[in-house]
Amino acid sequence: MEPSIIIIGIGNEYRGDDAAGLAVVQALKTQDLPPVRLIEGISDGMSLLICWDGASKIILVDAVSSGAEVGTIYRFDALAQPIPVGLSFCSTHAFGVAEALTLAHTLRQLPSTLIVYAIEGKNYASGAALSPEVEHAVQKVVAQVAQEVREWTDPAVYAA
């Protein structure tokens, strides 16, 4: 049976810190996790909506540009709160994460749980590697996401 937890890493692997979300998902593949579906390589909002169709719990991981210190980690519940003003999801397309969330809300296609992790990036140049601060943040987010997913699956066993 298809797991109904999906973790989606958003970004472009060739654009420096924009790969942060992908790096998180790639690292999650090596973790011991309950059944989840890991998706990476989504970089536009419409594909997001299509791929999360049917899931009940979703975690999105993406890079953002908000002016905060590089490597800052944001976590927010996209169903409980609007996206903070000034938190701009970097998108190389016209239709990014924020737009996808708005559209999903209008279409009533939001899952029952939608958590967004965002990592503050600084260098989005073509061909660049992740900034060291972002690399560090990626590792932290991997641990946090893994723990969260375990708690969803079996709170009795996994709650810290």
Binding site: I50, A94, F95, L107, R108
Partner: protein, 429 residues
């Protein structure tokens, strides 16, 4: 003398970025330039020295929305160079893969990029508030197109299963089962989309175009055929460069393409439709008729209807191919490189995509030429803006800009392909 300049920066709802410059003097349209300022990406150069087998995967990186088009033009050009024809079920699978790409590209354009213009919405999110069921259906249609692409191509973006000679792996007939059910639903849903696009409010505007597209004796064109035009051109693809030439324009880093002796021309769904209408499936032709379209359509705004007809045709054709599918003996035919020049045109969602490669005896690429459809349409876009915008310059600026943008979106420009960045600047005085 009053000169007014208006800039729209950036232009929304196109793939990639670009600049449009409009100059109005004393209430008259004086100049329109479609400016491309993004630096060229030198794909034709970086292909040199690469093996012929690498061409499909390298050129696919030119564009994330139409990678199949690049792969198809590349493999056909290389096979042309090596004297190989891929026929039978492998040929059919290639058409099937292309159906997937037409679907997902056209559906995205119709609903997310173009329809908002006609209904006065700034974006699809606002359109979805009033038309939620239509947008939901569009997402499912796009998903069905993506499903074809990942099923045949191995991956939705930059398919990995395509190679010179065929594929790395071909499916069994049984494996198609789940896909078929989804496609049948999608074909019905696509049939409902046509009348919806047909009842959108259309400006009363027509133009004389030279339409250019492939034409094949038996089928609506994807990968094969002669290159024809509505002004009598009828040539093998190998003669493309004798008839079409690219010229530099001083204000743009992209080249403008013209038909020698004729000028601007138009490629894409409207061109395909006008030149190949009778090759559409009966279902698609009937949908066109019900939508009030005959074999000819000269209103560029109605390209949205034609895209919806092509989406319907693509689902119809996909189901036909799957129904007749038998697994081929080999996933690919043998190809041996030789000293040669190879040519191909295939019909990308946005129009004819030309590839030409020269290879040596080992199959190393010596030089390459790639002409994407959006480059070829640039002059027609400017012409349409001249004729259409000229009528609207007395409108309030916001409305005028909206109409210019909508005119550009008629062409569904893929500016990444044409290495273009679109913003709108209007000089008005």
């Amino acid at each position: 003398m009053k000169t007014k300049k208006i800039h729209v920066d950036p232009l929304a709802r196109v793939e990639g970025e670009g600049v449009l410059y409009v100059k109005i003097r004393d209430g008259k349209l004086e100049d329109i330039k479609f400016k491309i300022i993004e630096p060229p990406r030198f794909f034709e150069v970086l292909l040199r020295g690469r093996m012929y087998t690498e061409a499909p995967d390298i050129t696919a990186r030119i564009c994330g929305i139409c990678p199949v088009a690049y792969q198809m033009s590349a493999v056909h050009a290389m096979e042309n160079a090596c004297g190989v024809v891929v026929d039978g079920q492998l040929r059919a699978l290639r058409r099937l893969l292309y159906c997937g790409e037409w679907i997902e590209s056209h559906v995205l354009h119709i609903f997310m990029l173009h329809a908002p213009d006609f209904l006065g919405y700034p974006d699809v999110m606002h359109l979805a508030q009033d038309y939620p069921e239509h947008v939901k259906r569009a997402l499912k249609l796009k998903k069905a197109g993506n499903a074809i692409m990942s099923f045949i191509g191995g991956r939705e973006i930059h398919p990995i299963n395509v190679r010179v000679g065929g594929f790395y792996r071909v499916p069994t007939k049984q494996e198609f089962g789940p896909l078929v059910e989804n496609l049948k639903w999608a074909r019905d849903a696509a049939l409902e989309t046509v009348p919806w696009t047909a009842q959108l409010p259309f400006p009363d505007f027509e133009s004389e175009y030279e339409f250019v597209a492939l034409r094949h004796p038996d089928e609506y064109p994807f990968n094969e055929g002669r290159l024809v035009s509505s002004k009598g051109l009828d040539i093998p693809v190998s003669e493309y460069e004798e008839h079409f030439v690219e010229e530099h324009v001083p204000y743009s880093s992209a080249l403008h393409s013209i038909h020698k002796g004729y000028g601007a021309y138009l490629t894409g769904p409207m061109a395909r439709y006008n030149l190949n209408y009778e090759k559409l499936s009966p279902l698609a032709r009937e949908a066109a008729r019900s939508a009030g379209l005959g074999p000819t359509c000269l209103n560029p705004f109605k390209s949205i209807i034609i895209r919806s007809i092509e989406v319907l045709y693509a689902f119809d054709e996909a189901l036909r191919i799957i129904e007749q599918y038998e697994i081929p003996e080999q996933p690919a035919v043998e190809v041996h490189p030789r000293v040669a020049i190879g040519y191909a045109c295939t019909e990308a969602p946005r129009g004819t995509l030309y590839h030409r490669f020269q290879i040596d005896d080992e199959g190393r690429i010596l030089n390459a030429k790639i002409v994407p459809p959006t480059s070829q349409n640039q002059k027609s876009i400017e012409n349409d803006l001249w004729h259409y915008a000229a009528r609207s310059i007395d409108l309030p600026e916001e409305q005028f800009l909206q109409q210019c943008e909508q005119t550009i979106r008629n062409y569904d420009p893929c500016i990444s392909c044409a290495t273009h960045f679109l913003k709108l600047h209007i000089d008005r005085a």
